[in-house]
Amino acid sequence: MGIVEAILLSVITAATPLVLAAAGELVAERSGVLNLGVEGMMIMGAVCAFAATQLSGSPYVGVLAGVGAGALFSLLFGFLTLTLVANQVATGLALTLLGLGVSGMLGESFLGMQGIKLQPIAVPLLSRVPFIGPLLFRQDAIFYLSIAIVAGIHWFLFRTRSGLKLRAVGDSHGSAHALGVDVIRTRYLAVLFGGACAGLAGAQLSLVYTPQWVENMSAGRGWIALALVVFASWRPWRVVAGGYLFGAVSISQLHAQAFGIGIPSQFLSSLPYVATIVVLILISHNRRMTLINTPASLGKPFVPDR
């Protein structure tokens, strides 16, 4: 295995949870809901996926549990912000804190246990293609899912009537409501989907990335995912580009250090963030394009008049 291939393999593992969580959050934000609880939903997914894997012996049961835990946890957010119309920013932050605490409690008895890794699945024929095969077609199910989910989101948002309605709800919930779209229901579904994706991202952490459970193992990845959504200016494929750019820079800086290039490590460590800021500046240069993609009702509560 060549060094380039090795680097790319690590990049894929590092980028997948970011892409997944960001893609889910993108759908929620497109419907006008800002859920800052990504980190909390992710860590809940991680602990439940790990626990279910240990109890059942099958990492696939774990994946399902992670998805379910993320979705269930987001339902709490949905109830508070959509039904009770609580402040979205405050509720999201609370969700993150709650998730970190609850996951630590749930995971206590699973600490130090040997994890079971989600094994890669080789795609027949394609996995034998040199270079690309081992990279893209000998991966675990969650990686394949991450790409499929992004493609699905793109298709749904821009090619289906339901997707159009969801975007309409995010842009102007008043108008969408007047046209007979059920704003609250749409937002509930979007929030649930976002939670499920964050849970899946968490499952990737505790089943693929580092098959173990330790408290706080998401280590801020939920926040990076949130930033990625803005970075991607709410376009699904740009989430993939952003996630992989971030992953690539963070992995190559480690390699640069191991190689002994002699650039200060603090600078190298900050590179992924510097790169993100540079791209953000370049993107926001075109103000009109940014405005077109930004959901106009993002973060605004909706109270239907009766």
Binding site: A14, L111, L205, Q212, V214, A219, L254, A258, P264, S265
Partner: protein
């Protein structure tokens, strides 16, 4: 006037009563942790020490702890909260808590503080540390014997003296066996991020190291080493569970005895500011069983350990050069503790540029 006197007398009586009552209450001993108490590494080792205090002095003290306290401004708030809540003695268990500890200690002169691995003291702030580097010297020797490629990977956290000292000790140990031995250093710039630590481990292995050692707190690097089939050293706690066929040994922090001793001194009213720096011989660090290595390597490691304990061998003993080749220690000369505690340079043989 009579009334005033009476009032004064009553107040004094009440006050006297109150202090008598509090003397019968248990003293509160508090701990501030940088990670989670079950991280399987650094913080867990401190928590085991705390439990030992509970066990041995439980009839006289109660313990309390705060986990996952970030280094920086948040630490100040956390420490202050403990000081306000009536803690008599507070152990702050990470290097990054140093300035926060000193600052809060000035605000609460009646509370005693103990800061781990730092170098700033005050009338009510003591420091304590462990000579981890003794263990790292042994690890270096083992690495040099076990590595086929003669290159080890070192996952470092932050460029503070303690970590730099560890890297140097490892290299000096390794070069005492194989003068050509090399290490590659990766700074993760975190103590605790399993994903990032695993990435660093992968990067090092991909670049051809066949022994891994870490100065970060989770078992993720051990797990990657196990997966890739190379050998590794554990850090802070025995990590054998994460790599039954991988771990060669681990530096195990055993803070308990120190915590019990100091807490007892506090209870007896004999607590004083000290800067304690104990090592293998005092039992503040122990080596996990030497596993997954041939008998001759094990024998060498055990012999070195015995020599360090007896004081016959000091890892930082000349002839030693600094990284740039300038002389540091002459033949037979040992470094003084002050130089070690402020170590901000590499010794010869480290293939890395020290972040300043």
């Amino acid at each position: 006037m009579k009334k005033l006197l009476l009032a004064l007398a009553t107040t004094t009586a009440v006050l006297g009563f109150a202090s008598a009552a509090s003397a019968q209450e248990k003293a509160k001993i508090c701990f501030v942790y940088v990670g989670s108490k079950t991280d399987g590494g650094w913080t867990q080792a401190h928590d085991i020490g705390r439990q030992q205090v509970e066990k041995e002095l439980g009839d006289k003290v109660e313990t309390q702890f705060l986990e996952n306290v970030p280094e920086g401004p948040d630490a100040e708030r956390a420490i202050e909260r403990l000081a306000r809540s009536g803690c008599g003695l507070i152990y702050t268990t990470s290097f990054g808590f140093m300035d926060a500890t000193i600052k809060i200690a000035q605000k609460f002169p009646d509370v005693k503080f103990e800061h781990a691995t730092g170098y700033k003291t005050a009338p009510n702030v003591a420091t304590y540390n462990s000579r981890f580097y003794e263990g790292r010297y042994i690890q270096g020797q083992i690495a040099a014997k076990m590595s086929q490629k003669g290159v080890a990977g070192y996952i470092a956290s932050f460029p503070i003296p303690e970590v730099v000292m560890g890297i140097n000790a490892f290299v000096i140990g390794a070069r005492s066996v194989n003068p050509e031995f090399k290490i590659k250093v990766v700074w993760a710039n975190t103590w605790f991020d399993p994903g990032k630590e695993a990435d660093a481990a992968k990067a090092l292995i991909d670049q051809g190291v066949d022994i891994l050692t870490q100065h970060t707190d989770t078992t993720a690097p051990m797990q990657v080493a196990a997966e890739r089939g190379i050998k590794a050293f554990g850090q802070a706690s025995d990590m054998i569970a994460a790599g039954p066929k991988t771990q060669l040994t681990a530096i195990v922090d055993t803070w308990g005895a120190y915590y019990v001793k100091r807490t007892q001194a506090f209870l007896d009213g004999k607590w004083e500011t000290t800067s304690s720096w104990d090592g293998l011989k005092d039992g503040i660090l122990t080596m996990a069983p030497y596993t997954n290595m041939p008998d001759d390597v094990k024998a060498m490691a055990e012999a070195t350990e015995a020599k360090i304990k007896s004081g016959e061998l000091k890892p930082f003993t000349g002839p030693l050069n600094k990284q740039d080749g300038t002389a540091w220690l002459k033949e037979g000369e040992s470094s003084d503790d002050a130089t070690l505690l402020g170590m901000n340079f590499y010794v010869e043989g480290v293939d890395d540029k020290l972040p300043q």
